[in-house]
Amino acid sequence: MAVAKKEQELIVSVSPHIRSEESTSKIMWTVTLSLLPAFAMAVYYFGPRAIYVTALCVVGSLFSEWFVQRMAGKEIAVKDGSAFLTGVLLGLNMPSSVPFYIPLVASFVAVAITKQLFGGLGYNIFNPALMGRAFALITWPRAMTTWFTPTAAFMGMDATTTATPLGILKEEGVHKLLEVFGDKMTLYTKLLIGYRAGSLGETSVIALLIGAAFLLYKRYISWHIPVSFLATVGLLTWIFGGKEGLFTGDPIVHLLSGGLMLGAWFMATDYVTCPSVKKGQIVFGIGCGFLTALIRLKAGYPEGVMFAILLMNCFTPLIDRNLKSRVFGARKEAGK
């Protein structure tokens, strides 16, 4: 769900303004389409489980959407594709090994509570898919952090559990990461093509970038949030990420691992939950980047993208409010 339509550059009110049912649904399905490469890579690496988990998420989302709209006596708008897209995004954010009830409950939290209770599409404060995942992570901490080594799983290999690159980085340090992956080049390449442990859709950076390029070309997303987000993470992890002092961190590892690419291009840009003005979007991106780096480097969780985006979602109305009439230009430069 990643849209910055042309009209919005002029419109400064807080809620998005969707022209008509048709265009909303067109946008939703296009964004879904752009996730196809990432999904294909997920299927390649994690096998039938990838299809199974994503399908459960989609079914759960569609059902929750229908259920709440039915209960509230609203028009049933399951077909507009937004619930479908939330389901797909949620699926791509799940580890391959989760038991069946986790995708179902998570998608209920995502669609029914985070979106529909707040008034449905266009009114939700938080990114539904991420909220569903956060709920699942806190509720089933173990199942949600059991990762499998990617294999070309259709060949029927038995999978082994392992830690994500960020998990290794957090607990053991960068030397261990190199020990596991070989040399630095292999590490970067494997991170780039996605041969690593992680959530289904987040591993293959290339596939994600293809999808993002498509959306950029279609002008469904703008560069402001992703670029300021990624730049901040890169900068901060470079300065503070190393053990030997300032400027010894490895920003490339941080940029390529975890859910950063998926989060920055497809989740942070969700047009309902990010600021509507460009300056606000840059502040939003920098905030996301700062919080991601803070959580990754200092707090308890190895990965911080999800929490960073959710936290910045809290601030979106505040950013919108303050940047409507006057300009907070002070921090703009850092984002470039």
Binding site: V68, L117, G119, F126, L311
Partner: protein
């Protein structure tokens, strides 16, 4: 010296963000839900609250350490702390009305609400329980105040946005405010493990 300063800073961050009173210690909820409907009131409340917080933390620390401990009447701490807070609020109410009627007009209404806020009594109690020294008490008080202000401002901006939303009828008003708070609290768990106290 540097270590002590770091400890103060950690206390401040922990009190304001990680163990945010509203989202993880569940205190001050009454005012949190009561005055977060409009941004303007939320900001007025935040300013008044933080000021009262810091000063009453300081006052009660002094009384606790120089009066109550020597007299061995620490078992009366509840009564004495609420007395201090109430007296201070009453006094500043009177002084503000005399000295700066303009400011009183803006912030005076919140003063009356404050003395029945749980955080304002919880902070001296926690300071006493954790045996913080004077500066630590101050920075804990300030952190709590800022944390509350942060929570209030976020909540007010979200609720103003929700005014326009088509929330299902049984959930309008309070219920959706609680659910919003639940989701914010969930986002705030991302900070866990940042500082161990």
């Amino acid at each position: 010296m540097e270590k002590e300063f770091l400890k103060l800073f950690e206390l401040f961050i922990a009190a304001s963000v990680i163990n945010n009173f509203v989202f993880t210690r569940f205190l001050g909820l009454c005012i949190f839900f009561g005055v977060s409907k409009k941004m303007e009131t939320a900001i007025g409340m935040s300013i008044t609250f933080t000021a009262v917080m810091v000063i009453s933390a300081a006052l009660s620390w002094i009384v606790f350490h120089y009066v109550m401990i020597p007299l061995e009447i620490t078992f009366l701490k509840i009564i004495i702390f609420i007395g201090i807070v109430a007296a201070f609020v009453q006094a500043s109410d009177t002084i503000m009305r005399k000295v700066s009627p303009g400011l009183y007009y803006k912030l005076g209404v919140y003063l009356a609400l404050i003395s029945t806020n749980c955080i304002i009594i919880a902070v001296p109690l926690i300071n006493a329980g954790e045996n913080y020294n004077f500066l630590e008490s101050l920075s804990f008080g300030l952190g709590s105040g800022i944390g509350f202000a942060l929570a209030l401002t976020i909540m007010a901006s979200i609720r103003e946005k929700l005014e326009l939303a088509d929330v299902p009828r049984p959930f309008r008003g309070m219920p959706i405010a609680w659910i919003t708070t639940a989701l914010i609290a969930l986002a705030f768990t991302g900070f866990s493990g940042l500082i161990t106290l």
